[in-house]
């Protein structure tokens, strides 16, 4: 179904193909809809699709454009390019790197480039830096786990590349801006030393993490050839969510604009949710003057009148500005929100019950569509998601989640494969902590053998798993035991056992081939756990991909390690196969969405009903705190010589909260349900800024009158 555009939107979508337009407006005013329609009009007007590039900060934000491109009514032909800075730089570096070989490995400059995934960066850091940290007693005043520590070092490198300062200046920048004693600031020197070691190693071995990829890209860009290549290829540019992109992207857009025939640059007001990742609204806004004209959409296409009134109240409370709509006197704003009922607000779990009951009533009594409801929390932990999903499932309400999927290493299918891999490779010297135990075998058997139950798997493991290895089923001489296990399961167990034994007697395969064979030859066959189990197949496929990438990168490093063993060790440690992005972030109209608030904000959609959970959580208003990095100090807008003060901190908190809550309200059509409980999930009483703000607001809002209830029904 096609949305009818306003005259203003239409004038932008149908603007001449020679015009460059800068479009701004708050969320919900139809900017992306206009952008998508512009894309359609460009193609309809005969612009070759291959000359159009849609640039977004992250792939998820391109979904409306991708849907338009896949539109079956569209004629077949060349494709529009949808790109992010990451994909663009990856492609260009891959194409043009020989132009700048002098900046790469001195010893072997023409050695193939290897692009490192995030998990490979973690692995490499773990391998390279762990001994250095131990030896030098680095970070002895910082209490964070290793995974977080390495991700901050990587983050600092990325920031230097995104903002464009030498990576060797990270420590100096942080130290000059952050208050603290010399003693406490030495951690930045430690972080700098680690970053330097990592960068040198990458350069020496032609390994590109995101930061090095960007640096090389920038150098290539300066070289001119790649720029000319892009300029000649893409004549029409649509860039959406500019405010969420980095200065590098803005620089690239700026350069492309000069040779482009048309452009539509779209920016959201009061957003900037990716600042901690280097997003820069100021450099985005600077692009406005390079365009032929600017437009601003003002009218919301989403919020009802009561939600608009509530937004005005919120803005007044949070900024001290005048209430433009004067909604207070009418009590309309109060109608846009509903708070957890008193008796349901003691425990966290009661609040979850309230959510499920309210969702049910919205669907069954008010006729709300499942896809028009979203449940949001500042942080969506597994336990919270699971508890919500099970409560809603019991009420026969489907849900889906927008967030990185469960780590591969937590999936039963992965654990079963890892257990078999360990059994099949006795030559791996596995430490005591990671050795297979009886319960691993039980879990592997219940997962790998179809219909296997926990009791019989336990009997099998009790009898046939000894001295870290499996034994054949026919060694069970006790007839009763054989009967208890059953011959059917005995036979299936035997096939796994024999496959392992056969594998052990032949030369070892690479880990990805091993996993592929195990899946293909045994586990996907009839009688085994993954037979026609497409979820498991997807997980195994991801695992095989991950292991292959690891093998390729690890062999590039050329260490004397058993790559398979190393891979399994890293999976066990939760370093590899940790975060897996789902292949597609697809909206589902038939299910309630459960998502972290930020993810929802960056998912380009509005809904009728929102639930905000845990309003007492400080995470609603808190920037990410990491002791080794500081996104604001490392941003392009930071002025040299300034000191990061508590006032900055306070201002940032206010701004974070303001942007998140107003951003959410702007994406809500009818009502916001506020979830509150005195005790959080761990039994603590928190007092976050959002709860304080609501407390203050509720005390000042007049209640809704009967007449207004009737009016509400009309909205």
């Amino acid at each position: 179904m096609s949305i009818r555009l306003t005259a203003e939107q239409e004038s932008i979508a149908s603007a001449p193909v020679t015009e460059k337009i800068y479009l701004s407006g708050m969320a919900g005013t139809g900017k992306t809809t206009t952008g998508v329609r512009r894309l359609r009009r460009l193609i309809e007007s005969g612009v070759p699709a291959h000359s159009i590039m849609v640039l977004v900060p992250q792939k998820r934000l391109a979904l409306p454009y991708a849907t338009e491109i896949r539109n079956p009514r569209r004629k077949a032909g060349a494709e529009v390019t949808i790109a992010t800075l990451g994909s663009l730089s990856h492609n260009l570096v891959g194409l043009f790197w020989p132009l700048i070989v002098r900046d790469l490995s001195r010893e072997n400059p023409y050695r193939r480039l290897t692009f490192l995934s995030l998990e490979m960066v973690q692995y490499l850091m773990f391998k390279l830096l762990e001994p250095v940290i131990e030896r030098n007693d680095y970070f002895n005043s910082v209490n964070i786990n290793r995974a977080r520590l390495f991700s901050q070092i990587a983050d600092n490198l990325n920031k230097s590349a995104i903002v464009g300062f030498p990576h060797t200046d990270i420590s100096a920048r942080l130290k000059s801006a952050l208050p603290g004693s010399q003693e406490s600031l030495h951690i930045f020197d430690d972080a700098q030393a680690c970053a330097n070691i990592f960068r040198d190693y990458c350069v020496d071995n032609n390994l590109l993490d995101f930061s090095l990829q960007l640096e090389i890209f920038r150098k290539l860009w300066a070289h001119g050839v790649p720029r000319a290549y892009l300029s000649s290829r893409y004549k029409h540019l649509i860039a959406d969510n500019l405010e969420e992109d980095t200065p590098n992207t803005h620089m690239l857009i700026g350069d492309l604009l000069s040779s482009a025939e048309s452009a539509l640059l779209i920016s959201d007001e009061e957003a900037g949710y990716r600042r901690f990742l280097g997003a820069d609204e100021t450099s985005a806004a600077a692009l406005e003057k390079l365009c032929d004209r600017s437009c601003r959409l003002i009218e919301t296409r989403v919020m009802s009148r009561s939600v608009q009134a509530f937004l005005a109240e919120l803005q007044e409370t949070m900024t001290g500005s005048e209430n433009i709509g004067n909604a207070r006197q009418t009590g309309r704003a109060r109608r846009a929100i509903e708070l957890t009922a008193g008796p349901k607000s003691r425990f966290h779990t009661q609040m979850l019950d309230w959510v499920a009951e309210t969702v049910e009533s919205l669907i069954n009594e008010k006729g709300a569509k499942q896809g028009s409801i979203v449940i949001l929390a500042p942080l969506l932990h597994d336990s919270l998601r699971f508890s919500l999903v099970t409560r809603l499932e019991q009420k026969k309400i489907a849900t889906y989640t927008l967030r990185p999927s469960r780590p591969l290493h937590a999936e039963p299918a992965t654990r079963a494969l890892v257990t078999i891999a360990k059994l099949a490779h006795p030559q791996w010297k596995i430490g005591a902590r990671r050795q297979i135990n009886s319960f691993d075998i039980v879990q592997m058997l219940t997962c790998a053998i179809a219909e296997m139950d926990l009791a019989r798997a336990t009997l099998l493991a009790d009898v046939l798993f000894r001295k870290s290895e499996l034994h054949p089923f026919n060694t069970i001489t006790n007839a009763e035991m054989r009967a208890r296990i059953s011959e059917v399961f005995g036979e299936r167990y035997g096939r796994i056992f024999e496959w392992i034994e056969k594998y052990k007697s032949s030369p070892a395969e690479t880990i990805d081939v091993f996993l592929s064979r195990l899946f293909g030859e045994v586990l996907s066959q009839s009688g085994f756990g993954f037979h026609r189990d497409y979820d498991a197949a997807r997980i195994v496929s991801n695992l095989i991909d991950s292991s292959r990438t690891f093998r390729q990168a690890a062999s590039q490093i050329g260490d004397e390690i058993d790559i398979g063993n190393e891979y399994v060790r890293m999976v066990d440690a939760g370093i590899l196969a940790d975060q897996y992005e789902p292949r597609q972030w697809r909206k589902r109209p038939d299910a309630v969405l459960i998502a972290p608030a930020y993810t929802f904000l960056l998912s380009n959609q509005a809904v009728d009903y929102q639930f905000w959970l845990n309003i007492d959580s400080p995470a609603w208003s808190r920037r990410l705190y990491q002791p080794l990095t500081q996104p604001y100090v490392l941003s392009r807008q930071w002025v040299d010589g300034d000191i990061w003060s508590d006032e900055h901190e306070r201002q940032t908190s206010r701004e974070v909260l303001y942007r998140v809550v107003t951003g959410l309200v702007k994406r809500c059509r009818k009502k916001i349900h506020i979830g509150y409980s005195r005790f959080d999930e761990r039994g603590n009483e928190r007092a976050g800024d959002l709860r304080t703000m609501f407390d203050y607001l509720l005390r000042s809002l007049p209640p809704t009158t009967e007449g207004e209830e009737v009016e509400a029904a009309d909205e």
Partner: protein, 729 residues
């Protein structure tokens, strides 16, 4: 509108006139200090023009008091709001708030973990194991008595004891704000050999590495880091000062030096601070830097308005009189060194005009009854059994010096079929939730065990656990040899074979439903541990508090599994067992945890430690184990908990280790034995205060008994004969 009525006494009304500045209040037990302070907090909330980010801050010592306080302020305000105009925190909670607000200031990420005492102890044990591998005979010659040096049991005990020595040392070093590397540097140039300090500094280093690796901090760190954060950024401090224009502090006598410093910084020169406490009830001094002297000093500071709450309407006059006699006796304590420490001081408690009436049963001091520990328990149980028959509408508590003795007493009460509620490390309901999860998870870890199957069934049916049908089914399941034929039948189905669907339709249906659940739980073993526990708890718990507690346990378990990726189901079962057996503390959510109200347990016996009983009151109180071991007077024949049987010269090794630490931090000489003697005196003084706390919990009846201990040699606590003669006289 306030939902409760409070008419202040004149001395209370004086305090309620407070509008600003600094005030110190010395209160006696039962003087209504919590009521007064919460009323004052409510008044300040109403009368102070607070901005959106401002709050009245109330600080308490322990969580149980916090919940009670919070409720009272809420009741006094009588508003149906989100309650953000006031904040009631324990000192640790406050420190956590401060650190969490600016974790980067003190080298933490925003998701830092708080490592609890149990895990902290594990890290220390691991480090000590490594230490003793390298130094096999460490400390044997230096610290074990000659006849214990070759005794394997004593050597083993010494290594065990080293854990608590190191834990105390680390806690104290953190209280002094000394890092291990500082101590290491001082020790290198220190002229004397300090073996205990050497071991402890080494363990401290390893411990800190362990915390760093986990991205965690311990409870002690929270206080230290909060102070660091306040010192690191004056703007941050100024912001917090603005946020909390009034700070009200309860139980101020138990604040440690660092805790007092945090509050002092938050208040600042011109801030408003009301501190209420009773130096006679300071019972957290041993092995901490807390001291009632801090409050006494505060009361004398220039600019501080000093007030008293000397009137108590709690106890019958005879009980008040007994408590006052104890003060008198302590002021004339036969041991001069204890006397000089003023364990208890004036003012005497003054009765109000509405105290419970005098009666013959007000004070029952069984000083002349010599009993073994078991005999004492039986005596008390019998006494309670009889008393409860006529006083089902009254409240009663059995107060003991330690958690293990409390657990022993509970067993005897159960044997006598006396209704009781145990509030020890964790509350009964938290433990029941953990116990239920333990049974089910235990079965999942051992799914071929019919006894475990039967136990899981009883958990599921626990509301009807005493029904004959439940027992019969449980017995039937226990006899099921091949569990898999019930849980996952293939060739034959145990249920069909053993329960006739026609004759026992209800039983068949019950078991059929149970089987469906078991399959669900078995499938859940493939899920992450928290989700498995949540699945089970969704099926077996129906009360909001149980579900919330189970959630809290599940989150706790997930945290444990995240830190220890090698953990499996059996580790979860072991942990649940620890919680269920009261060896492990988790945050509980039930009313007993959050705001224990004795009046909710009329006709039931509350079993509690004396420490936990502070702030509470019952119609009748049994004070047990009042012998010269639990309440010593530093007589030559007294034995002290801190002095281990295997230690040379009756040294208190923890106290000696702390003295060695003190030498390092102050640069003074260390002389062996002085700290042991000092610890005796300090402990004896504190235990007198504990006895005073015990006496003053009783409203109408106080029953005091003692026992002769394991070796049968203990005698009544020293003040008891005096009090007894006074009582008889």
């Amino acid at each position: 509108m306030s939902s409760i009525h409070f008419t202040p006494r004149p001395s209370q009304a004086e305090i309620l006139k407070f509008t600003g500045g600094k005030m110190g209040v010395s209160a006696v037990p039962g003087s209504g200090k919590t009521w007064t302070l919460s009323y004052l907090a409510a008044n300040l909330v109403r009368e102070t023009p607070l901005e959106m980010d401002q709050q009245i801050l109330v600080v308490t010592l322990v969580n149980a008091a916090r919940g009670k306080f919070e409720q009272q302020v809420r009741d006094f305000l009588g508003e149906d709001s989100l309650g953000t105009l006031y904040r009631v925190r324990t000192l640790h909670g406050l420190a956590n708030d401060i650190v969490s607000e600016r974790p980067g200031l003190v080298g933490l990420a925003d998701d830092f973990q708080i490592v609890d005492d149990f895990e902290a102890s594990d890290i220390i044990k691991e480090a000590l194991a490594a230490w003793f591998t390298m130094h096999k005979d460490f400390g044997i010659e230096e610290y074990l008595a000659p006849d214990h040096q070759n005794n394997d049991k004593s050597r083993f005990q010494w290594r065990n004891e080293a854990t608590s020595i190191a834990a105390d040392f680390i806690k104290r070093a953190k209280d002094y704000r000394r890092r291990p590397e500082d101590l290491r540097a001082v020790m290198a140039g220190f002229g004397q050999s300090l073996p205990l300090a050497e071991m402890c500094v080494h363990i401290y280093e390893a411990y800190e590495r362990g915390l760093r690796y986990r991205g965690g901090v311990d409870f002690q760190d929270l206080i230290r880091l909060a102070l660091d954060a306040l010192e690191a950024d004056p703007d941050f401090l100024a912001r917090l000062r603005r946020r909390w224009p009034f700070i009200l502090e309860d139980e101020a006598q138990d604040s440690s030096k660092l805790q007092e410093e945090i509050l002092r910084m938050l208040v600042g020169e011109k801030g408003n601070w009301v501190r209420v406490g009773d130096p006679n009830q300071a019972i957290y001094e041993t092995f901490t830097t807390a001291s009632p002297q801090f409050l006494r000093n505060f009361l004398k500071e220039p600019g501080v308005v000093s007030r008293e709450l000397p009137v108590s309407g709690r106890s019958a006059p005879a009980i008040i009189s007994l408590a006052n006699r104890l003060i008198d006796w302590s002021l004339r304590h036969p041991n001069e060194e204890i006397r000089s420490r003023t364990p208890l001081a004036y003012p005497h408690i003054e009765p109000a005009d509405d105290n419970p009436p005098d009666g013959p049963a007000n004070v029952q001091l069984h000083v002349d009854m010599k009993m073994s520990a078991e005999e004492e328990r039986i005596f008390v149980a019998q006494s309670l059994k009889q008393w409860l028959t006529q006083n089902a509408d009254k409240t009663v508590a059995v107060l003991l010096p330690t958690n293990p003795t409390g657990a022993e007493m509970s067993k005897v009460l159960a044997k006598f079929q006396i209704p009781y509620i145990e509030v020890l490390k964790t509350t009964t309901s938290t433990r029941q939730v953990a116990g239920s999860l333990y049974r089910v998870a235990g079965f999942l870890a051992n799914p071929v065990d019919s006894q475990a199957l039967s136990d899981a069934f009883v958990v599921w049916m626990r509301k009807n656990r005493d029904e004959p049908e439940t027992r019969e089914i449980a017995a039937l399941l226990k006899r099921a040899g091949r569990v898999e034929q019930f849980t996952a039948p293939r060739e034959s189905d145990w249920l069909v074979d053993n329960v006739s669907r026609n004759d026992f339709t209800e039983r068949y249906d019950t078991l059929s439903r149970f089987r469906t659940l078991i399959r669900r739980w078995q499938d859940a073993t493939q899920l992450p541990i928290d989700q498995m526990l949540l699945t089970i708890s969704g099926d077996i718990f129906h009360e909001a508090v149980d579900i919330a507690t189970a959630y809290s346990i599940a989150v706790h378990m997930r945290g444990m599994f995240d830190i220890n990726p090698e953990h499996r189901l059996k580790d979860c079962v072991a942990e649940l067992k620890e919680i269920a057996l009261n060896r492990r503390k988790v945050t509980g959510l039930s009313d007993e945890d959050e705001q224990f109200d004795p009046s909710r347990y009329k006709g039931q016996v509350v079993v509690m430690t004396l420490h936990r009983a502070k702030g509470l009151e019952w119609d009748r109180v049994h004070l047990m184990s009042t012998n010269n071991y639990d309440f010593p007077s530093a007589d030559p024949f007294d034995r002290f908990i801190g002095e281990k049987y295997f230690a040379r010269n009756e040294l208190n090794l923890s106290a000696e280790a702390l003295a060695q630490l003190r030498a390092l931090t102050d640069g003074t000489d260390y002389r062996e034995g002085i700290a042991t003697q000092d610890a005796r005196l300090e402990y004896a003084a504190e235990r007198l205060r504990l006895l005073y706390v015990g006496f003053t919990r009783a409203k109408r009846e106080l029953v005091v008994t003692w026992n002769t201990g394991k070796m049968g040699k203990l005698i009544p606590a020293k003040p008891l004969p005096y009090l007894n003669s006074f009582q008889k006289g």
